[in-house]
Symmetry: C2
Subunit: 310 residues, 2 copies
């Protein structure tokens, strides 16, 4: 969506979906929201101060207003193609518990024929997030990168069901795999999350990050487990995009730090918890768009205090 420029610095690029969402909860009903994994992940990453490039596709009905909101965070949109035809649209209704949800509409539009192309300026970026899209496309776009230092992969139950061989192939090529507890159980056929993680680690990645929604997450390596708390939010408005925000904030923080070790990863995960908490306090990316980096830092400190043993 943007011209090439010579001087841009891309620390991390991310591929994912770009949607226009309708979200209904018990008390509210919102239409035409900015959605899809990529806006959440990139905006969250921008809070870490990283140079972020986005790879995706939008349709002719994806408005300039959306684009401007996105650009406001300094996110590079050269990798976002604009195609004639309708944008990807999705609608859901949350149950009263705000966890279970029913998908009311999935219209792929231009996303159906998405073929990601990595801009030249992104190819040398050291960090990569392969957001949740068809695993063959994840492989296709990853192949265009020149030896990234750290690649994180997100996926979903649909690909476990219908594209398992491709998914296993891409899992074997990345450094970190993230999924939620239910997906990890579905992928491995194990129930205990330690067993799930052990199975996924055998497929190749060094890190497995299993998310448990409001209950936080576990990071597993072959040797260690790290328990990452979720920040207890006061007002849950819309859980959509929390997982994308989480992994986007994480990789953004890693890309800014440019250090790959357990301490850096733990720090990035606390940052990710704080960002995900802001995400669910508003519809779409709206709350994230209203906060400052100072507020994020404050929440990270609060979370550290809540979990400190002394």
């Amino acid at each position: 969506m943007k011209e090439k420029t010579q001087d841009k610095k891309i620390d991390v690029w991310m591929v994912g979906s770009i949607g226009i969402d309708d979200i209904a909860t018990r008390t509210e009903n919102k239409k035409n929201l900015l959605g899809g994994s990529l806006p959440f992940a990139t905006i969250a990453a921008s809070f870490a101060g990283a140079g972020v490039g986005a790879v995706g596709v939008v349709g002719s009905d994806f408005g300039r207003a959306f684009q401007k909101r996105w650009e406001h965070f300094g996110i590079d949109l050269e990798g976002v193609q604009r195609k004639p035809g309708p944008n990807f649209r999705w609608a859901c209704r949350y149950d009263d518990d705000m966890i279970e949800r029913t998908t009311l509409k999935t219209e792929l539009g231009v996303f159906a024929d998405f073929m990601p192309v990595l801009p030249e300026a992104y190819t040398k970026a050291p960090f990569v997030l392969l957001g949740n899209i068809q695993p063959d496309l994840q492989l296709h776009v990853l192949a265009q990168a020149r030896k990234p230092r750290f690649v994180a992969l997100d996926s979903m139950n649909l690909w476990i069901d219908i594209a398992r061989p491709a998914l296993e192939k891409v899992i074997g090529k990345v450094d970190l795999v993230t999924m939620n507890d239910g997906e990890a159980r579905q992928l491995t056929g194990k129930w205990n999350l330690r067993d799930c993680a052990a199975e996924i680690l055998k497929m190749g990645p060094r890190f497995v990050l299993l998310k448990k929604g409001e209950h936080g997450a576990f990071l597993f390596t072959k040797r260690d487990i790290f328990i990452i708390p979720a920040y207890p939010v006061k007002t849950l408005k819309d859980p959509t995009g929390a997982g994308d925000t989480y992994i986007g904030a994480f990789i953004g923080c890693m890309a800014k730090a440019r250090t790959i070790n357990t301490t850096a990863i733990r720090k990035a995960l606390m940052f990710a918890s704080a960002m995900a908490a802001f995400c669910v306090e508003g519809f779409s990316t709206e709350k994230m768009e209203r906060i400052t980096r100072k507020e994020v830092a404050c929440r990270v400190r609060e979370l550290m205090k809540m979990t400190s043993a002394t």
Copy 2:
């Protein structure tokens, strides 16, 4: 069940049920297990090195073997009455998820007419756990104590349903109230656990400890929240008694330390998490009876490492 002695030192006394349980899981079926809240809570507390007194009732079919296993941990049983008639018996079957369960049998036996009497040697103990029994009985036994420094209260959904006024009265007399997330929602009519805790704190206690099973717990004060992780167990055998173990280990650790401040409480809660994890790794109290204090200390350190931010 024991004679009075002059030289005993009771740091904490606990009242609760003493049962004989039949437990069925997907893979195993065990009968005539030591059960009820009191054996779990007292054995867990003994690992902290506290002098523990037990207050409860057993029937004529409560065997000497049970009593010996209990005494092996140095727990004082002067407060345990032996009555003619059948012991309290309970049976349940766990669903495959090992969380949901169906109660198959509840035979109160001598527990139906239980009227707790506090031995003289317990009356000056500084710490008290009012385990889950009828709230009027909790009030009755607490009235026999001489100004304890710290009283913790456990309860259950049944008393919220049928004895709410008495339950609210006892909540107003204690320092710490613990319940699980579902019970807190039932008691307060709120969904968000921060809102639940705020309501319970208004009833009088200084601390509210809300348990989320395998997802850990929150400790709330009027000013602070502490997130307590659950230790990720490798093999879950039987979740029965985990909550009793948790609160018993907590109050035992507090009673041993004899210090009531946030740091001591946080430390005691990490100890409690470690003990509860051992509890669920075996049926009844069996795994707890096979471990050493060194193993517990090791697990506490492991848990600290898993949650350390650096």
